[in-house]
């Protein structure tokens, strides 16, 4: 391995798009349909002869299908490089990993930036509102197309964790095990509030053009940057921000103006600026909406345990982080208690870290060791060689 290369550069990787005929539309929770659905996905490793080693990785709000391989747009390593790969906690020499871009996303799967086959124009705001359950439906269609009846595991953090819970509620018979990291069984008022700030920032940008910017040749970058900056604060902890930046200045002395004097300002501006290069503003509206609508208990008569009643045979592992205030440990505990009440086989670990919500994306040795233990022993039980 030479400089700049990562183990991910040596994984057997395939990028593809699954296209579904217009006669087989995707029916959505809202009652609307999507015709000519496309699902962009990557696979890593090889499906075994028994088709028993497939792991579906569900990505978070601002991620994409490039979980273990370089993002072709940014050239950066996969967002879950620490976890996926040869010899990693989810070992691509042993498992066949699938990661698809979510419905409503902007990395190849049908979303508001896609062309509406009915009009030949980008959907924009004519794209129907989608839910986490709709995202999971699209993933299930992809698995059908790949000829995979049952997943060895479905794994995800943050919004990916919510998809994992939705999988357990809707398709428990298609799961052997499930890993839900730093997620929640529903969006709280605070979660919705932060998302609303982000959406309002986008919609307040004159270049948003009531969602029709793609056709009018504009880009609401300023709004999307502010949305990303606000959201990014929620992914970190106060302690992590303090440790990383404190009150450190960019240059010697203050500017006595509104330049980015403080390193933390410059960091957030940078996070916003690089985000708009790879993300679509309308996708951001749709995906945050899907998260706000997420409430697994409400869709099961108000009892979260009822959502897991059919998932008793699935091996669950739930992780939370002590400093995550976006989806705090108390939310994961609710999931675990509901799993216990439903009689499911649940494990739960709260990981001590000051890195906040984003800890699931970072090098967290305790998470990786526990994940390796859970996945490895589950694979032994499933008989995956």
């Amino acid at each position: 391995m030479s400089d700049g290369e990562t183990p991910a550069d040596f994984i057997e990787t395939r990028s593809d798009v699954a296209r579904f005929a217009a006669e087989r539309p995707l029916r959505l929770d809202s009652g609307a349909e999507i015709r000519g659905l496309e699902v962009a996905y990557n696979t890593y490793g090889r499906l075994n002869a028994e088709r028993s080693n497939a792991v579906l990785v569900c990505h978070a709000l601002s991620m994409d299908q490039h979980a273990a391989s370089r993002n072709p747009l940014t050239g950066k390593p996969g967002w879950w490089d620490h976890v996926l790969g040869p010899g990693r906690p989810i070992d691509t020499d042993r498992f066949f990993v699938i990661c698809s871009n979510v419905l409503g996303g902007c990395s190849g799967t049908t979303g508001p930036a896609s062309i509406d086959p009915a009009t030949g124009q980008p959907y924009g705001l004519t794209f129907p509102v989608v839910t986490v359950a709709d995202m999971v439906r699209a993933q299930a269609l992809l698995l059908d197309a790949l000829g995979i009846d049952k997943l060895f595991a479905v794994v995800g953090g943050s919004m990916g964790g919510m998809q994992v819970l939705q999988w357990a509620a809707d398709y428990p018979e298609r799961l052997f095990s499930a890993v839900c990291i730093a997620a929640a069984p529903r969006h709280s008022a605070q979660n919705i509030a932060f998302h609303e700030v982000g959406r309002q920032a986008i919609m307040a940008d004159p270049d948003w053009r009531a969602g029709d910017y793609a056709r009018q040749g504009a880009r609401p970058d300023k709004g999307l940057i502010v949305a990303r900056m606000a959201a990014h604060i929620t992914y970190l902890s106060e302690a992590a921000l303090q440790r990383k930046f404190g009150r450190e200045l960019q240059r010697d002395g203050l500017s006595w103006g509104f330049d980015a004097d403080f390193q933390v300002e410059s960091y957030l501006r940078h996070q916003g600026a690089v985000f708009v290069d790879r993300f679509d503003a309308n996708s951001y509206l749709y995906i945050t909406r899907a998260l706000d609508y997420f409430d697994l208990a409400i869709s099961h008569g108000g009892a979260l345990a009822a959502a897991f009643r059919r998932a008793r045979d699935v091996r669950f592992c739930v992780f939370s982080f002590t400093s995550d205030w976006l989806y705090p440990t108390s939310e994961s505990r609710q999931i675990v208690r509901a799993l216990n009440a439903a009689g499911a086989r649940a494990s739960f670990v709260e990981i001590e870290t000051d890195k906040g919500h984003d800890a699931f994306l970072l090098d967290e040795p305790v998470l990786h060791a526990a994940l390796r233990g859970f996945i490895g022993s589950a694979a032994d039980a499933r008989g995956v060689a």
């Binding site: 675990v336 216990n340 009440a341 739960f348 060791a369 526990a370 233990g373 859970f374 039980a381």
Partner: protein, 217 residues
């Protein structure tokens, strides 16, 4: 292979193929032993993330949490046995935890050090200091035990909670377990620590014709 004496007793006690919740399961030694030797379907509750991680690597299903707060969320009669090994004096609400164990499990298996043991009484009497013994090895300022009790205290609490003592064995360091009647004053002097099999007094006794000999013989 050396197996802790109380684990050996629990292993003898538990019926093959039953469902067991181990409260304070540590790194999962007991659950693994029960799964291997008795085909038990086990679950664990453990306070430390390092303990839970070790359990995950063993393929066990374990939830991080503590007995005081998290037992409330387990469904009633979800288990044949709820095990609490040498942990009861460490919880904030022993009375609540004990009744929760018997809500969740048909039977509870509880082991605890006996503060009425003669050496404890003698040390306190002769030296006027908190005793240090095999079953109470840590000084007062670092012991996790906050609710120590004697055999008599414990059997009285069982009485108050309407619990039946189906069997009891005295445990001593390195010696085989000895079936005892824990309500006898002499055992309150002799037993260094004790293991109880408990059920609700209103429930039928442990199986047909179950005897202490069946459990500890």
């Amino acid at each position: 292979m050396s197996v802790r004496e109380d684990f050996r007793e629990i292993l003898r006690l538990v019926r093959p193929g039953s469902r067991v919740l181990d409260v304070g399961c540590g790194e999962g030694e007991l659950l693994e032993l029960l799964a291997r030797e008795k085909g038990v379907e086990g679950r664990g509750l453990e306070i430390s993330s390092a303990g839970v991680s070790a359990c995950l690597a063993r393929g066990l299903a374990v939830v991080q949490g503590d007995a005081d707060d998290d037992l409330d969320y387990f469904p009633a009669r979800g288990f044949d046995y709820a095990v609490l090994s040498q942990t009861l004096p460490q919880v904030r609400q022993p009375r609540h935890v004990l009744s929760e164990l018997l809500r969740i499990g048909e039977r509870a298996i509880v082991s605890l050090p006996n503060f009425g043991h003669w050496r404890v009484r003698f040390d306190l009497l002769s030296q006027g200091r908190m005793p240090l013994t095999h079953s109470l090895p840590t000084p007062w300022w670092e012991t996790p035990n906050i609710h120590l009790c004697t055999l008599r205290d414990f059997t009285q609490l069982c009485d108050h909670l309407g619990l039946r003592i189906e069997a009891c064995a005295a445990l001593a360091n390195g010696k085989p377990a000895r079936p005892i009647d824990p309500t006898r004053a002499s055992e309150n002097w002799r037993a260094e620590s004790a293991l109880f099999l408990l059920s609700r007094a209103d429930a039928p006794p442990h199986g047909e014709g179950a005897t202490k000999a069946d459990l500890f013989g």
